[in-house]
């Protein structure tokens, strides 16, 4: 286990280093730079050059790279170029919002999708095609609905017609009620897609296991159907489900740009999009570094959970 942790630690280091190098150079390959973004429409070339000089964009690339490595090693994420705001502060502010949305979305989808998928699998197994088909088809339809569309529909329906949730407003922890009113619709939109994906994966995984010998044995021993399905079948079908939950949690943690945009949620996704649009190099570099960290960390956690469900997994 200690060995494993060390190996993972090294992997984390190498991945992060690779990502930061790649991002550092690739963002500079895109035409346009922060100075041009600030200059926008109406700035002379002379003024642009002065702005570049001030922003340190005229230094040789390798010198900029070494500067960046130094700042990362000293754990200083620096400030944004276009707005001179501390990046660590921006990340720390966006993170809890995105985290809460991600956790609730995953919880919502797990609570609904796993039983739903299991039931569908059980129905399919028992030859009750009709009900299984409803669930499968519905899941597929929901899965295929683009999130910006679902978001607008929910907004029209829940916000404009029923006046259940506000369409706008500040997101602040000072006002927890308002906070949850504001994140409820994003969670619903994201949850719907998650439920659909997860239910389909669960159905497939459980259906496969239901044909296994040990399930038949359990039945032969007179165990009740509920226990057979949920304890024997579902538990053994958990590995692919966990992988999907882990991955989607990672995705959600990195923010969901479109949903954040529509609901005006100042999450991590909005931060990255702002960074890219304004070619704010430090902001993009550090947000993507954070993304890499999240994914490596989630992979590590997923591995740990694997072991819980399948003791045969060796580290």
């Amino acid at each position: 286990m200690i060995n494993y942790t060390m190996k993972k630690g090294l992997q984390l280091f190498v991945t992060m280093f690779g990502v930061l190098t790649l991002v550092f150079f690739s963002i500079r390959l895109i035409p346009g730079d922060p100075a041009a973004a600030i200059a926008g429409d109406s700035l002379s070339a002379e003024a642009l050059e002065e702005l570049r000089e001030k922003l340190g964009l005229n230094a040789p690339l390798w010198a900029q790279y070494i500067e960046y490595l130094k700042s990362i090693l000293s754990l200083d994420l620096g400030t944004t170029i276009t707005t001179s705001l501390p990046i660590a502060g921006l990340l720390l502010k966006a993170l809890p919002i995105t985290l809460i949305i991600a956790v609730f979305t995953v919880l919502l989808s797990v609570i609904i999708a796993i039983p739903l998928g299991t039931i569908a699998a059980f129905l399919a197994h028992k030859g009750k095609k009709a009900l299984d088909n409803i669930i499968t088809w519905a899941a597929m339809l929901v899965d295929l609905m683009p999130s910006f569309w679902t978001a607008l529909l929910l907004m029209l329906f829940l916000s404009l017609n029923l006046r259940l949730f506000p369409a706008s407003g500040a997101i602040s922890f000072d006002d927890p009620v308002m906070f949850f009113m504001r994140v409820a619709m994003p969670i619903l939109v994201l949850g719907l897609t998650q439920i659909a994906t997860l239910a389909r994966i669960t159905r497939t995984a459980v259906l496969e296991v239901l044909n296994e010998d040990y399930v038949r044995t359990a039945r032969a021993m007179g165990t009740s159907e509920i226990i057979v399905v949920f304890r024997h079948a579902l538990k053994n079908a958990m590995l692919p489900i966990i992988t999907v939950v882990g991955l989607s949690f990672g995705n959600l943690l990195n923010g969901t740009v479109i949903v954040e945009f529509i609901f005006s949620i100042p999450g991590i996704g909005s931060l990255l999009v702002y960074g890219i649009n304004s070619r704010d190099y430090p902001l993009v570099q550090n947000v993507i570094l954070f993304y890499a960290f999240v994914f490596v960390a989630i992979n590590f956690l997923t591995d740990l959970v694997y072991k819980k469900f399948d003791p045969r997994v060796q580290f």
Binding site: D33, A45, S84, N133, M155, N161, S168, S172
Partner: protein
């Protein structure tokens, strides 16, 4: 077979659900009418007026030296003052911190400053030293202000006494008052505040304008409170809350729900329709700026003026505007908008006439047409307007292709002249800003905005003459001559005049959008 049936049923159920949503969506308009104008903007109990406004992008800070993008400029416009400012309705220059000024030769400008003007947040009284500091700060290379070039023509700034400020120019400039207006480099900052906040001054602006910053959360809202000691007296509304809402549809629903009182700019026809039908007040400014098609004159075919005139005859931009964006755009017949000083009607008009276009192409030697590329941003994509223009041009044999790139790349390519045709819209209140920028060879891109690379010594001479001219009558004549030549040679083809909308509840008064698409909140009140 059974699978198929079930699938069909599911789709049917879903469709029914959608129709239900749609109908209830439509029904809401009557509800909207009820809310529009009835809910008040007053904070519970206190009797203080609070106005909630939609803000459509992440704020980028409010330091006049490096401010950019119109929505940030609108906030700064309400925090700061200049020596002069703009009349919201006419766009004319009017006094602000300078009560009056003298100028005999367009070269020495002497300003008499207003007495007893107070800075926000207890920074004391405003004097000429503040003006001196602000303008020198813009010129200081350490500030690296993108607007430093606006003072290129300045020989010296002087503050002989606390309420007099004198500017000497290198060359006469009849439009200098625009340079010191409440916009960009013209806005006066407070030295003590700049030094106190250092790098963070853009988030802690201190001005002498009607509103002061109370709180800025760069990811969610900007709160301004009225400056009680504003020289014209306190503004009617005590607090302005700008909430960041990037999506237009969301903002529309927020206004219908009464979550906001005023919607800063919406750029979608369908949202404007919804709000208009629901009875909201459609505050608007028409033709605030003209969109120009930029022809790269270094292109072998486009360098022929007949080709450009043929283009003008071939496309009915007026009809496109009426068909696609009846609210947001109108046709345009000149580089400058009608309301602008020096605007002339006496320029060549290019009526829609495909036959004439074909004839001109034939005269130019392109009877079989040609292929040309139009540079545009992926942010807007290929719009309906662009597709219609493509169709019109096809009819006379010109094949228009589109090259889409992201916005920073677009700006870069356009600045470097790496395009065949492109578009530009430059909001301005000053005729020189348009004519000098687009037609003077000193401004040939990448140095300036002359993206067509237009260089006509006759026009250049007139442009310089009009700057030096003091007599208004002669100025008008010179401006007219410049416009005539520009509209004959057509380095830029005016396509659409842009309109800007700020829909609000019925009880919001005094929302006048000025020619820079900004609102002066001092004039706004809640009834």
């Amino acid at each position: 077979m059974r699978t198929w049936k079930w699938g069909f049923t599911c789709i049917l159920v879903l469709l029914m659900f959608l129709t239900a949503c749609e109908t209830s969506g439509g029904g809401s308009t009557s509800e909207g009418t009820q809310t529009a104008g009835t809910s008040s903007g007053e904070a519970a109990g206190s009797g203080e007026k609070v106005l909630k406004v939609r803000f459509y992008d992440d704020p980028a800070g409010f330091d006049p030296a490096n401010i950019f993008r119109i929505e940030n400029e609108n906030i700064a416009f309400n925090i700061f003052s200049g020596l002069t400012t703009y009349d919201s309705k006419t766009g004319a220059i009017i006094p602000d911190l300078a009560e009056s000024w003298e100028n005999s030769d367009n070269q020495t400008w002497k300003f008499q400053l207003r007495k007893g003007v107070k800075w926000q947040k207890g920074y004391g009284e405003f004097t000429s030293a503040d003006v001196l500091y602000s303008y020198h700060r813009i010129l200081d290379p350490v500030t690296a202000s993108p607007y430093a070039a606006e003072f290129n023509n300045v020989e010296s700034f002087e503050a002989p006494d606390p309420h007099t400020f004198v500017v000497k120019l290198k060359k006469p400039d009849g439009n200098f008052l625009h340079q010191v207006a409440n916009y960009h480099q013209g806005q006066i900052v407070k030295k003590e505040a700049v030094e106190e906040f250092g790098d963070k001054i853009r988030w802690n602006p201190v001005g002498t304008g009607p509103y002061a910053v109370e709180k800025i959360d760069p990811t969610s809202e900007i709160v301004l409170v009225r400056h009680e000691e504003y020289y014209k007296g306190p503004a009617p509304i005590s607090k302005l809350i700008f909430s960041i809402m990037k999506d237009d549809a969301t903002a529309t629903i927020a206004l219908q729900n009464g979550e906001i009182d005023l919607l800063m700019r919406t750029n979608r026809e369908e949202n404007l329709d919804t709000l208009e039908k629901a009875g909201f007040k459609m505050n608007r400014v028409d033709n605030y700026a003209v969109s120009l098609k930029v022809f790269n004159l270094e292109h072998p075919i486009l360098s022929n003026p007949k080709v450009r005139q043929a283009w003008a005859h071939a496309v009915d931009f007026q009809a496109i505007a009426e068909g696609v964006t009846p609210n947001l755009q109108m046709g345009a017949a000149n580089l400058m908008p009608e309301w602008m000083e020096g605007y002339s009607k006496n320029v060549p008009i290019y009526e829609y006439n495909p036959e004439k276009a074909k004839q001109l192409l034939q005269e130019a030697g392109y009877a079989n047409g040609f292929k040309v590329k139009n540079l545009a941003t992926s942010a807007t994509g290929v719009t309906d307007q662009m597709q219609l223009e493509q169709e019109y041009l096809k009819a006379v044999g010109i094949q228009l292709e589109f090259e889409l790139v992201d916005t920073p790349t677009f700006n870069q390519k356009r600045n470097r002249g790496e395009f065949e045709t492109a578009t530009r819209l430059l909001p301005a209140v000053n005729p020189d800003m348009i004519l000098f920028s687009f037609l003077h060879p000193d401004n040939i891109s990448p140095k300036g905005l002359n993206g067509a690379r237009y260089n006509n010594p006759e026009v250049t001479g007139k442009l310089e003459a009009v700057r030096a001219e003091v007599d208004p009558g002669k100025r008008k004549v010179l401006y007219e001559e410049i416009q005539k030549i520009a509209m004959t040679e057509l380095p830029y083809l005016p396509t659409f005049g842009g309109n800007v909308f700020w829909p609000s509840k019925q009880n919001i008064d005094g929302v006048v959008i000025n020619k820079l698409a900004q609102v002066n909140f001092y004039d706004v009140d809640i009834k």
